[in-house]
Every structure is written in C-alpha cells, then in structure tokens.
C-alpha cells in the first residue's frame, strides 16, 4: 500500500493554487505550476519523512537520496510530512518565504497543526477516489463481459441441421471471462455440411469481435470454395491484414458428405478432433498455422470416411486444459479415452462433461470456454440415395446410471427421441410404462442399483416398429422364472404383492425379446407405430 501511495508526491512552490493543476510533463522551475516528484519506494527520504515528528528543513537534511536532491534543486525549503494512521500519505513542500526570511518556530508549529488536520482528510479523499476508480473498472469489466457474451451468442448457430442417418449435437459454455470459442455448422451446396470449431486467443470483447469476423469470412468463403484447405487459406488472407497484434485464431474446418460419410478437413492449429471407430479412437491430423498470423499459408487437407456407427468429436482446449484441484490437466489422453469408451452424439457430450466435472471438482470455476460438436453416423444405416427408410435406424443411444427413480430418465429420453414419429398417445403411454418397467428390472436385477453399472438403452426404428433395447450387465444372472401374477393369490397372501413388472411389459408392447451373452442381458421391446394391440380400447 505504502509503495503505491507514496510513489508520486507533488512538488509545490509558493502561491500554488489550492487545487492542483500539475502539468506533469514540464518540470516546474520557478513557475507557479507544480510537477510531481517521484520518490522511489527504496529512497531513504521516504523512511525519514515517515518517522519525522514535524516539518523537515530540507536544506539542512543530508541523505543519499535522489528525491531529496530533486527537492533541493527545486528550491524547496520545508517538507511537511502528511501522516495518517502511521502511514505517509503525502508531503507538503514549501519554497522560501515571500519575505525571504527563515521560517519561524511559530510558522513550523502552524504548519505541523495544519498537516495533522489535513492528513486524515486527504486520506479519506484518496480512499474515496480509489474506490470510485475500482468501482468504475469493475463495472466496465462486467459490461464488457455482457457485450462479449452477446456477440458470442449471436454468432453461434441457432439450431443444428437434421441429417438423415446422422446425429449432430453441440455444446458451448463460455467461461465467466468469455473466451473466444466458437462453432458453426454451414449448409453447403450438394447437401454437404461444413463443421467448424475455433478458438480466438484473448478474451472478452476483442476476442468476440475477431470470432465474429472469422465466422463471417469463413461462412462466405465456404460457400464459394469446395475444399476446406482452400477455404482456410482464403480466411487467413482475409484476416491477416486486420488482425490485432498478438491475436490469432485456431480453427478446425471439415466438410461432411452425409450420403457417403466422407469427411474432408483442414486444421489451422486447432486441437485435433477424435474419431471413434470400431477399433477405439484416433486423432484426425492435418497441418496448418493458426489464422491471422501470416499471409500466404498453405493448409494441408485430409479425408476420412465415417463408417456407420462411427462418431466424431470436435472440441476446444477448455476441456483438455481444465485442471483438477491438484493442478493436473484433464489432458488429451483422457479425452481420447472418453471418445473410445462412450457412445457418440449427445451422450458423448454428457459423459465428457460429467468426467470433466469429476476431474475439476464440484466447486471449480470454469477456466476457459468449453465447446464440443459431435457428429455420429447411425450404425447399420447405409443411407439410401432414393430416400427410402433403412431397415433399422438408430434413433438414439444412451445410458442411465443404476439408481432408484432413474427409469424416469430413461422414459423421458426415449419419448424425446421418438417425438415426431406420430405414435398415438395411448400407445406412447404403453411404451412409457414398458420402458420404465424394463429399465427398473435392469437396474435392480442386472445392476443391483450400482451406479457404476449403468443400463444402456438404444432406440431404433424400421419396419413400422419402434424398438427399445434395454441392456444391463447382468448377463450371467440365472434365467428368472416368469411367474404369472395371480391377483387372487396375492390378495390371499399366497403370492407376494410384487412381480408385476414383466407381466406389464408383455401386455404393453407388441413384441418382447430377451437375449443374453453371458455378460450383457438385453430386453428388446417392439411397438408398432400404428394400430395393433389396441383392441380393448
């Protein structure tokens, strides 16, 4: 505190107006104006003034002090320290008296009294001013954050495309200080779709503005150019001249052909995307410098084919660079493993976020923006060019932790996934009951309500049916005898009151099929999209 407050004292000469109008650039030599004298924090004059009991005779003072030499040179005769609560907060510097006589002991007494009264008032003034300045800085900072957030949000896609045979999901969450993350999904000629994930260095409004510019240039260039490498080259040329110093943009840009699964991509120094295949997960590599650094940069272009069942994760460094309380980063290997282990699509995003939160701890503030875009090709859904519906198309795939009540989660997600298939309300209710019962059975008998043994659920459509496959890890469990519940016997206490689950399931849906491979146990529920099994209504 002392250092910052006592660094600059103002040198005052005779007849200086009460309100200072210091002209800091021009040293005052005999003029009325005062110029500040810097007293370095380690200058012995500082310690001397701090402990002085009253006005100090400058000319008589002998100290190895640059500030003292400056005071003498400026013709200062008396220095009166202003001390408030033991802290030196200013110095009243006086030149020679107008009468050219020495200062009398009465003069000094008067000055000491004045200093004793002026110091606390000055201190209050300093504190008020300091707080005002801090409040304004804070307010400006908050306003900037709001502006940055607004810009960011305005330039993110309002909705994601619906691609037959593909599942596209995205997640974006800015850090409090709003980094420069962005993503985009761009419809291109011939049914192709461009996917972008990028990150602007820096934070706040400057980053948001560069992000907005990059996105606009990319959108415009992508429409005209087919190849992602060429597109990034063009974007780089546009950005270079106007890029603020020390700023640049990393960006991954890929073009998907939904018909064939071809994904052609180029990378401007961005974190490598991961693709999940039947054999695990791997990075998609392509070389290229970040955008906006240097004109004339080439961007290597690569291509991969996303096979049915494959999924792709584009992400920003906010995930891998998130720290645990022990300062360990989440890291690329962990993210790569997530992609290998978890289902793709929205489920992958959920699982990565859950692992990330487990890593950072519940109370951690998000360090940087987090962005994920996932692209998943439905398994076994070789897309048919004539628009015919494939035999069985995966609608969604997800897991629920085995915990009491989670059958409700399963029901909600299945219902959300088949919304739009036009299933009548009464049949939908039956499916909900069946899914709930089957999930409860799986959680209870297959997973013994252990959260680390989740139940996986797949929803497929095809052949006029919606199929829900509910799989638990209780494949080795002995086949349960399907006891047909007998209400009379139950009411007489001859049968236990429970045991309705399977009975309900079989009565709610059109088909059920149980399979087991020793590890997994699956119950498949089939419900016809229209009619059937409605006879009693």
């Amino acid at each position: 505190m002392t250092g910052s407050l006592t660094k600059t004292f103002r040198r005052r000469l005779r007849r200086t107006p009460a309100e200072e109008h210091a002209v800091e650039e021009t040293p005052a030599t005999g003029a009325d104006e005062a110029a500040p004298i810097d007293i370095a924090p380690n200058d012995p004059l500082l310690a001397f003034l701090q402990s002085a009991t009253g006005a100090v005779d400058v000319e008589a003072l002998e100290l190895d002090s640059p500030a003292l030499a400056e005071l003498k040179a400026a013709g200062v005769k008396l220095a009166v320290p202003l001390v408030s609560q033991g802290e030196l907060i200013g110095v009243l510097n006086l030149g020679p008296r107008l009468s050219e006589q020495e200062y009398s002991s009465d003069d000094r007494k008067l000055l000491d009294n004045l200093a004793a009264q002026a110091a606390p008032a000055l201190r209050v003034g300093q504190l008020v001013r300091q707080q005002q300045a801090e409040a304004i800085t804070r307010q400006r900072f908050e306003q900037e954050l709001e502006v940055a957030k607004l810009i960011q949000q305005n330039f993110l896609p309002k909705q994601l495309p619906e691609l037959s045979g593909w599942q596209v999901a995205a997640y974006y969450r800015p850090a409090r200080e709003v980094g420069g993350d962005f993503y985009d999904v761009i419809p291109l000629p011939e049914g192709k779709v461009g996917f972008v994930v990028g990150d602007v260095t820096d934070k706040g409004v400057p980053a948001a503005l560069v992000m907005a510019a990059t996105r606009s240039v990319l959108r415009a260039s992508a429409q005209r150019l087919v190849n992602p490498g060429e597109t990034l080259e063009r974007v780089n040329e546009h950005l270079c001249p106007d890029m603020p110093e020390k700023m640049f943009v990393t960006c991954l840009y890929g073009v998907l052909d939904p018909e064939t699964g071809h994904f052609r991509f180029a990378n401007a120094g961005h974190d490598l995307p991961y693709v999940k295949t039947a054999d695990g997960s791997e990075e998609l590599r392509a070389r290229g410098m970040p955008l906006g650094l240097m004109p004339g940069m080439p961007y290597e272009e690569k291509e991969t084919v996303l096979q049915p069942g494959d999924s792709l994760l584009l992400h920003s460094d906010g995930i891998v660079e998130a720290h645990s309380p022990e300062r360990e980063m989440f890291g690329f290997p962990r993210l790569k493993q997530c992609v290998a282990d978890y289902p793709g699509g929205g489920e992958l995003i959920d699982r990565v976020l859950s692992d990330l939160h487990a890593h950072t701890g519940p109370d951690a503030e998000q360090e940087d923006d987090i962005t994920m875009v996932t692209l998943q090709r439905s398994p076994g859904a070789a897309h048919m060019a004539n628009g015919a519906v494939p035999a069985a198309e995966l609608v969604t795939e997800f897991e629920v932790p085995s915990a009491e009540g989670n059958e409700r989660l399963a029901i909600e997600r299945v219902v959300a996934a088949i919304d739009g298939l036009g299933i009548a309300e009464s049949r939908l209710e039956r499916l909900k009951t069946a899914v709930g019962e089957a999930t409860m059975n799986a959680m209870e008998h297959g997973s013994r309500y252990r959260e680390d043994r989740p139940v996986s659920i797949r929803v497929l459509t095809g052949d006029g049916l919606v199929r829900v496959q509910i799989t638990d890890l209780g494949g080795a469990r002995p086949e349960k005898e399907h006891e047909v519940p007998d209400l009379e016997a139950k009411l007489e206490g001859l049968q236990r009151p429970r045991g309705w689950g399977l009975f309900l399931i079989e009565n709610m849906v059109d088909e059920t099929r149980e399979t087991s491979d020793g590890e997994h146990h699956t119950l498949e529920l089939g419900l016809r999209l229209e009619g059937g099994n409605d006879g009693d209504e």
């Binding site: 409700r408 009951t433 009411l491 429970r498 309705w500 009565n507």
Partner: protein
Amino acid sequence: MATSESPAVRRRDGVAVIDLAGDVNRGAEDALDAAWQQAVAEPPDAVVLNFESAGYINSTGIAVIVGLLARARAAGIEVRAYGLTPHYREIFEITRLADFMAINPDEDSAVSGAEGSRDA
C-alpha cells in the same frame, strides 16, 4: 427419485376418500399405509381412492395397491377408485385390479357407489 406426497384423507357421506398425490410407487407405501389407518380409524362405508392428482404409477405402485386391497378384504371394507387416466385404467384392467375395486368416472359416483361396481 420419485417419492410420493402424503395423501390427504377426507370423509364424505360416511365414505373415506384418500386423495393420492404424486407418484404411486414403492416410495408411496408408508404414506398410503398411514392414510389407510386414518381412513379406517372410524369404520367407513367404503374407501375411495382418488387418482386425479396421482402421477406415474409403476409395478411397485401396483404392488402397494394390491397390499392395500388385501387389507381391505381382510377387514371387509369395499374399495372404489376414480380419477384414473385411460392408460392407468387399462393397466388396472389388465392386472385385474379393476375386478376387486370399482373404477368410477368421478367422485360423486365413487362415493355413492352407484355405478362401476363389479362382482368381486
């Protein structure tokens, strides 16, 4: 997790009406037991279960209702119900709960026992 709210018990024309609220599942058992005790403390002509504000009913909830019906039978008290959605009415029929508990369209008919009664 689904837990049921405590059902309220009121009396109307000598009939005890239990207003179920929230989900009817395993978690509702204790609350429903308590409501039953309250309903039969002063022997009623019948007990009416009001499902109008009930939510999700699953197999464990059906087991709870079976338990309640068993006690009613032992005590010789008739149980009626109303306020079921078509879906749960169907489930009560499939499970044959409806054979032991008259399903009525509304409270008036449930309290008077005027319609919906079946042979138990």
